[in-house]
C-alpha cells in the first residue's frame, strides 16, 4: 500500500511538472529568472505593462534568420517604443547548444545589437517548461493584466531563409498592435517553428 501511495504521488507530481502551457486567454505563468547582468526579473513585477517573451538560442539557424538582418532587433525596438517589456529567454541546458555564460552572452548580444529589455537565463528549463516553449524562436505576448494574448511563431513563413522575412506576416507585432488598439488578436495561437529548445 505504501509503495502504491508513493507511486501514485510520484505520478501526480510528474504530471504537474510536465507540460503546462501558456494558453492564450489564460493567466501567464509567473517566473523568476536572473538576467545576464545578475538582475532578477519576475513576470509579476511587470504587471500593468505588455510583456513579450522570446525563446532564444543564438546558435539556432532559425534564430539567426531573424537576428542576422536585424528583424528581431527592430521588433524589440518597436515593442519598446510601444511601452512593452521584451524578455529574451535562453533555456539551453548546460552542455547543450546555446548554453553560454552570462559574460559570453552579453558580448554576443552587444555584437548583434540585441534590443531586448533583458536576456534571462533559464538553464534548468523551468520557465520554458512552464510556458510549453518548444522551439527557438517561440514567442508569447502577455497583456498588462497578465493574460497570454499570443503564443506561437514569430511569423507565418517557416524557414531559415532571411529573404522570406519581407513577405511574412509578423504575428507578434500584429498581436501587440491589435490588442493595444482594443481589437481582438486575429491569430492568438499559431504553430511555432524552429529548432527544438535544448532542455
Amino acid at each position: 500500500m505504501k509503495k502504491f501511495l508513493f507511486f501514485a504521488w510520484t505520478l501526480i507530481l510528474l504530471n504537474s511538472l510536465a507540460w503546462a502551457d501558456a494558453t492564450p486567454g489564460n493567466p501567464a505563468p509567473d517566473f523568476s529568472l536572473t538576467d545576464t547582468n545578475g538582475k532578477s526579473h519576475s513576470l509579476s513585477q511587470y504587471k500593468g505593462k505588455y510583456v513579450v517573451l522570446e525563446w532564444n538560442n543564438p546558435d539556432c539557424p532559425f534564430v539567426k534568420k531573424h537576428y542576422s538582418g536585424g528583424n528581431m532587433q527592430n521588433l524589440q525596438k518597436s515593442a519598446a517604443e510601444k511601452g512593452a517589456v521584451w524578455l529574451t529567454i535562453n533555456s539551453s541546458a548546460p552542455g547543450k547548444q546555446g548554453n553560454y555564460s552570462a559574460e559570453q552572452l552579453n558580448e554576443m548580444n552587444s555584437a548583434s545589437k540585441v534590443n531586448s529589455s533583458a536576456y534571462l537565463l533559464d538553464s534548468d528549463g523551468k520557465a520554458g517548461r512552464a510556458y510549453g516553449a518548444k522551439t527557438t524562436p517561440h514567442l508569447f505576448v502577455i497583456n498588462p493584466e497578465g493574460t497570454v494574448i499570443y503564443a506561437g511563431a514569430i511569423d507565418d513563413k517557416a524557414s531559415t531563409d532571411a529573404s522570406d522575412i519581407a513577405s511574412s506576416k509578423n504575428y507578434v507585432q500584429a498581436a501587440l498592435e491589435e490588442d493595444m488598439a482594443g481589437k481582438d488578436v486575429s491569430s492568438p495561437a499559431t504553430q511555432s517553428y524552429g529548432c527544438s529548445v535544448k532542455y
Partner: protein, 286 residues
C-alpha cells in the same frame, strides 16, 4: 620496456583517432549530401517518369517529413524546368518517429529519396536533351540543426522509345515507392471524444495494427509525447490521439498516414462529433 610503452601508445593513437573522427565529423563535412537522381536514363515524349531528391545523412543526423512534428522543417524544392516538363508535388515516403525528449519529431535517418513525378508533353523533340534544375533547401538536425541548400541539375536525353531504366537507382526508387501511402483497404471513422481524437479502423481483415503509428500531415494538432493507446475492437482497432490544449486552427478533417507492418495507408477523414443523447432528443439526428 620503453618500446612496449611506445608500441602501446602508438596502438592507442590508431584507435583513438578514427573514433574521434566518427563522433565528430570535421567542420567541412556537411551533415547531409544532396543529389538529384532519375529513375530513367531517357525520356519518352508524353510519358511520365520519376525524379528523386536524395539526401544522404551522416550518422546521428536526421531530416524531416512533410510534417516535422514538434520542431524542424520539411525539405522544399523549387523547380526550373524546360517548357515541356512538369513536376508534381513531393511524394513523401513514410517517416519514422525521432525522439528528442521531451519532443517528438517525424523524419528520416540514413538516406531518404523524396519522390517527384514528372510529366512530359508529346511535344518533346526526340534527340533533344532536357535540363532539369532544382533549388533545394532542407534542414538536418542532430543535437543541433544545420540548414542545407543546393542547386542541383540533371540532364536527360529524349528518345522516341521506351525509357531506359537507371539500373543503379531503380531499387532505391522501388523501395521509396513502397513507403508511399496507399489508399486504405479498410473502413476509417474518426470522432472526437473531449480532448482526444479516436481513429477507428474496421473491416481490417488480416491486417495487424497492434504496432501501428499515425503521422498527421499537419503540424500543431496533437501531443505526440503522450503514450499512444491502441485498443482492439470488434473487427478492428482504435487509436487515440491527444489533442493539444492550444490549437492554431480547428481540426475538421483528419489527414495523415497510418503506418503498420512496413505499409503506409493514407487517412483523410472528416471528424464526427459524438452526438450525445440530449442533442439526439432535440432532433439533431445526423
Amino acid at each position: 620496456m620503453n618500446q612496449k610503452i611506445i608500441c602501446f601508445l602508438l596502438f592507442l593513437t590508431v584507435f583513438i583517432r578514427p573514433l574521434s573522427v566518427l563522433s565528430q565529423p570535421p567542420d567541412d563535412m556537411p551533415p547531409a549530401e544532396a543529389v538529384l537522381v532519375s529513375e530513367v536514363n531517357s525520356i519518352q515524349p508524353g510519358k511520365s517518369f520519376w525524379i528523386g531528391f536524395k539526401l544522404v545523412l551522416q550518422d546521428g543526423w536526421h531530416t524531416y517529413w512533410q510534417n516535422p512534428g514538434d520542431s524542424g522543417l520539411p525539405a522544399s524544392i523549387e523547380w526550373e524546368l524546360p517548357e515541356n516538363l512538369k513536376a508534381g508535388d513531393i511524394e513523401w515516403p513514410y517517416p519514422e518517429k525521432i525522439l528528442i525528449p521531451p519532443f517528438v519529431t517525424f523524419g528520416y535517418e540514413g538516406e531518404v529519396l523524396l519522390l517527384v513525378q514528372m510529366t512530359s508533353s508529346n511535344l518533346l523533340a526526340p534527340g533533344s536533351e532536357q535540363l532539369i534544375r532544382a533549388r533545394a533547401g532542407w534542414l538536418s538536425c542532430k543535437e543541433i540543426c544545420v540548414p542545407g541548400k543546393a542547386e542541383l541539375s540533371l540532364r536527360l536525353p529524349v528518345l522516341d522509345s521506351e525509357p531506359i531504366l537507371n539500373q543503379t537507382e531503380q531499387a532505391n526508387f522501388q523501395n521509396a515507392r513502397k513507403r508511399l501511402p496507399q489508399s486504405a483497404p479498410f473502413e476509417v471513422n474518426v470522432y472526437q471524444n473531449r480532448k482526444k481524437l479516436v481513429l477507428r479502423m474496421t473491416e481490417i481483415g488480416p491486417l495487424d495494427f497492434s504496432e501501428a503509428e499515425f503521422f498527421p500531415s499537419e503540424q500543431g494538432f496533437f501531443d505526440y509525447s503522450k503514450p499512444k493507446k491502441i485498443k482492439k475492437i470488434e473487427d478492428g482497432i482504435e487509436i487515440e490521439l491527444h489533442i493539444l490544449p492550444v490549437l492554431s486552427k480547428p481540426i475538421r478533417q483528419l489527414k495523415g498516414v497510418l503506418v503498420s507492418s512496413g505499409k503506409a495507408y493514407s487517412i483523410n477523414s472528416p471528424i464526427k462529433q459524438k452526438t450525445n443523447i440530449f442533442q439526439w432528443l432535440k432532433g439533431d439526428r445526423k
